[in-house]
Subunit: 270 residues, 2 copies
Amino acid sequence: MATFAQIEAELRRGIEAHGPIHALGIASFGPIDRRRTSPHYGWITSTPKPGWRDTGVVPRLAHLGVPVGFDTDVNGAALAEGRWGAAQGLEDFAYVTVGTGVGVGLFVNGALVHGFLHPELGHIRVARRAGDTWPGACSFHGDCVEGLASGPAIAARAGAPAHLICAADAVWEGVIHALAQLLHTLVLATAPRRILLGGGVMEARPELLAGLRHELAASLNGYVPHEDLGVGIESYVTSPGLGSRAGPLGALALAADAVGDSRAGALPGV
Amino acid sequence: MATFAQIEAELRRGIEAHGPIHALGIASFGPIDRRRTSPHYGWITSTPKPGWRDTGVVPRLAHLGVPVGFDTDVNGAALAEGRWGAAQGLEDFAYVTVGTGVGVGLFVNGALVHGFLHPELGHIRVARRAGDTWPGACSFHGDCVEGLASGPAIAARAGAPAHLICAADAVWEGVIHALAQLLHTLVLATAPRRILLGGGVMEARPELLAGLRHELAASLNGYVPHEDLGVGIESYVTSPGLGSRAGPLGALALAADAVGDSRAGALPGV
């Protein structure tokens, strides 16, 4: 597969320039299988992304013979935000990406959430905006959050990529509604102390944040008293402290954890 | 308030019969405030239950001068199920009650979930069953899960209490759909290794379980491979091991934890 050839070439260049590799950190889109006892350990599994379903990732890099930290891109980004970014010192927080998919990395009780699977909250089915019957774009669920608010969903609905659609376009109302429902669910699921929203769509349209905060408060409708959040809504629903570096730094954090690297406490200069 | 007079009388009877109280365990319907630094610590807060909004519970019993374990009824029940019931040995699981309200107790990473709040997943807004426009009965959210599937919601919609409505009544289709959406969300939020469903409605209508399992699998639509659950769907979505004792035993577990009681490991003979 072309992507893996590029990864191998990049790794060879890195080894030539900087010396041997001590660990790999892989922060991948999901769903992934990270159960060590599974025959599919290290695979991307039931993704709707074309060409990636049931793809072994860790097995393809096993020949390097180094420890591997393997988790979702969003759990990795959450790890990085907790270590170096906007969630430092918080035991409970969420990192949401809105990009080619919608994903959530979750810290609960001071650790990343891994039940029998990692969080896949982009694929929850939520209440629809009144009168909005667009069927959604997710191949599994139609109008789940990812099917309504991911970059490809927005492009499918509006006929143009997210960064080219003007802020006044009606398509954003449906996007904000769906994402606010995801935030509503997050607040009532694990009551994170902060929710960070990153990913390509949020980076291209940072003005979505204001709409999301307003819609979240309207949806909760006073059930969770605002003062219980402990911070103002602007600090509660906000951007990642590491910006677009949260993802790559997440992979670094996973690699550092895989070898118990003592330098994990310092922000890498990348 | 009449209920507190009854509680005091019951406590006096207990003291006369069994001697002094060493700790209290209070497993209350929510939402509650359990932040020790809050001026409303020990209160029931924004409940829609008539007469209970903003009611101090722990303060009314402070005169007893004993340690108090205070959590939601469902977190308490989850604690009991993890210690003595159907979730022993599991680090990640959920206890769902469907009764006068809909609530969820959550274990993640081996501990009860407490972010800035306890879980309040009964109040998430979910996708509606196609063609179902009943507005729901929640005073905060209308057609959230509690507004569609709690005992009072069922009674409001069907005109009779849940235990008197025949199994073939169409009202159950909406109830099963809403609860299955809650389970769908739970699976994708913290991926619990088991989901236990208790409460008055589930006890009165245990046949709902089969419909819930079917509807959950249909809603996930293969996105989470069935084998990833590690157990069959019948063991995954099932009844509490402690039955209707999960709630009272939850209060006992909270009391035992409040004093670090070494007998906490043994199932009380109640």
